[in-house]
């Protein structure tokens, strides 16, 4: 696909446009009909109508969250696939999302922590711990770190963490109500507080990730080759690992474990941008954000609730939009067939 390569810049621009369109779509589409005039007036409305309140309090936070989380998960997945040279790597498959989720549930259930600030730190901690554990388990035994062992370690840890999480929830009905919707991976009904708290971490991680692009490309040629070319691979891998933890942990703190975005998006980005991570990573950010926005919009239509007015005005509490399908379910519906395709291809190789 050399002809595609020439249009990498054009493609990036088109992805940006797709992102903007999806963002507008996320504001406009849904249970409550919002017409263009209402949408345009939102910004200067002094006495907002009910529709405008919905846009302000529900739809804008939701679209912003989808954009930031989607971009972060896409980039985290790309970093992981590059670092482990494993096409199946992603925060979801390697147990990083599950570990972060477990720690958040432990925080709210055992330590009775409910503030988004502590949630965020527990999510970072959980992401770091599970990432380290998968890496450790994957490098045991003969042959060191192999893609197969990493994937197996990730799959078994995901299962383990999920079981623990469920065990805690079953024994603690109070927590269960609070986090069940969150656990399915949802960006609906969140207020912006968590996002505002996490955004500085995201921004740092985005900048670091994008500036690592060239070094990551060299690292994908193999650690020995990269070292021979004068790269301090330990530094590059360390910084990339911190970025992954910030991106995946922050995403879980905001939206719960949303799977498979980090898996699919890098593959799509690579099919457009080739092998150069200086291009792949920005594509992942734009496409990941677009994908999550679209999946979220899709979730609003998949099951149309029988009774109207479920989309309420307040931003807090998860129950208000519980008639919708959580976005994590949508990404899974799209992602699983994709995952199987990649798995079959990489095993046959």
């Amino acid at each position: 696909m050399p002809f595609l390569k020439r249009y990498r810049t054009v493609g990036l621009f088109m992805s940006l446009i797709a992102l903007i369109l999806s963002f507008i779509g996320s504001l406009k589409l849904g249970l409550t009909h919002i017409n263009w005039m209402t949408l345009l007036d939102v910004w200067q409305a002094t006495d907002p109508t009910r529709e405008q309140l919905i846009v302000q309090n529900t739809r804008i936070p939701r679209a912003l969250i989808a954009t930031c989380v989607g971009a972060s998960l896409g980039m985290a997945g790309a970093l992981m696939q590059a670092l482990t040279r494993n096409p199946l790597a992603s925060p979801g498959v390697f147990g990083i999302n599950a570990g972060a989720a477990l720690f958040v549930v432990i925080a709210s259930s055992i330590f009775s922590v409910y503030s988004y600030v502590s949630f965020t730190w527990f999510a970072f901690l959980g992401a770091a711990m599970s990432g380290g554990l998968v890496y450790l388990l994957g490098s045991f035994g003969r042959g060191g770190l192999t893609p197969l062992k990493l994937t197996l370690a990730g799959a078994s840890l995901t299962a383990f963490f999920t079981t623990l999480t469920q065990g805690i929830l079953v024994s603690d009905a109070g927590t269960m109500d609070q986090v069940l919707f969150w656990l399915a991976g949802s960006i609906a009904g969140r207020n912006l507080d968590t996002l505002i708290y996490v955004i500085p971490f995201f921004v740092i991680a985005w900048i670091c990730t994008l500036s690592l692009g060239g070094a990551i490309t060299t690292l994908t040629m193999g650690e020995n080759v990269a070292k021979g070319l004068g790269q301090r691979t330990g530094w590059v891998k360390g910084i990339a690992a911190i970025c992954i933890i910030l991106l995946a942990g922050g995403s879980v703190a905001i939206a719960g474990p949303i799977g498979l975005v980090g898996l699919i998006i890098p593959h799509i980005a690579r099919s457009i941008a080739g092998t150069d991570y200086r291009w792949i990573l920005p594509y992942c950010a734009l496409l990941g954000a677009t994908f999550l926005l679209l999946a979220d919009i899709g979730g609003r239509y998949l099951i149309m609730p029988g009774e109207p007015l479920t989309e309420l005005l307040t931003g807090a509490g998860a129950r208000i939009t519980s008639d919708e399908v959580p976005v994590g379910v949508i990404t899974a519906l799209i992602g699983v067939p994709f995952f199987i395709t990649i798995a079959r291809r990489s095993i046959s190789e």
Binding site: G214, N224, V225, G230, T275
Partner: protein, 274 residues
């Protein structure tokens, strides 16, 4: 003769068991040097440590007289290139992109891709004969072409010294000769120092000015192949009985292993082992 690479009381180990113990070694500048030895004798380990891919347990490695741990790895990469054993290119990476990676040590925030970078890449593609294949993905090439593409990358690095770990492994005879000829030419024309681990003793003897035979983590002997390749060396280093004759074409030492196999009728009388 000024050495390009030297070690001083070098000790290398994986875990607790030492592989190389207190080794002193000098590798001459502007020559082709081959490291030979049995499997597991430590020759690849030694090459990896010379290329700073493996940290010494003890002792120092000197590149052009300077301790390689004392200068930035990027600077070292401008003086010495390494082609590790069996490198794998990411799916879809083209020969041109691979070769461009060789300019990595010259890139930084301040100095982006320059005319000199472009020139070195073009030269590397040219001398390796990869110019017609430069837009092909590396994973679609034959083994020999692939190895040449990787060599193009190390050449784009524009270093005086080039280390290669078993560059001919998994290649058929034609491609082995193709790769070794390329390296030999580089030394002849450009005076580059080439250090490589080779499995094939006969090819090692034919292409090398200097041969270093490694046995159990030590240098068994070092020098011109015609001076050091003897039946005794092969017995000690490879635990193999053989007969060393002079190559009928090149005159370099050639080792004919004893052992079993068909012996043609008219040879029976002179055959080994009676």
């Amino acid at each position: 003769m000024k050495p390009t690479l030297a070690t001083d009381r070098l000790t290398l180990a994986y875990g607790s068991s030492p592989i190389i113990n207190n080794l002193n070694l000098t590798i001459p500048k502007g020559k082709v040097t081959t490291l030979v030895g049995a499997n597991g004798c430590g020759k690849s380990t030694l090459l990896r440590s010379l290329a700073r891919l493996l940290k010494p347990r003890n002792g120092v490695i000197l590149l052009n007289g300077k301790d390689i741990t004392q200068q930035s790895t990027r600077k070292t990469a401008c003086e010495m290139a390494i082609l590790p054993q069996g490198p794998v290119a990411p799916e879809g990476l083209t020969v041109h992109q691979l070769t461009k990676q060789g300019r990595y040590p010259y890139q930084s925030w301040l100095s982006q891709w320059s005319a000199e970078d472009e020139e070195k890449v073009a030269w590397a593609l040219e001398v390796t004969g990869m110019l017609p294949l430069k837009d092909r993905p590396v994973d679609s090439l034959s083994g020999g072409q692939r190895q040449r593409a990787w060599i193009a990358m190390t050449l784009a690095q524009d270093t005086d010294t080039l280390l290669l770990d078993e560059p001919t492994t998994y290649l058929d005879l034609t491609h082995q000769i193709e790769v070794l000829d390329l390296l030999y030419d580089l030394n002849e024309r450009e005076g580059r120092t080439i250090v490589m681990v080779l499995h094939d003793l006969n090819l090692a003897a034919r292409y090398a000015h200097e041969m270093i035979a490694i046995c159990q983590g030590n240098v068994y002997s070092q020098g011109y192949p015609e001076n050091i390749v003897t039946e005794e060396l092969v017995r000690e280093v490879f635990q193999l009985d053989c007969q060393v004759i002079s190559d009928p074409v090149f005159g370099t030492p050639m080792c004919i292993p004893h052992g079993k196999g068909r012996i043609l009728q008219h040879r029976k009388l002179t055959a080994i082992g009676g």
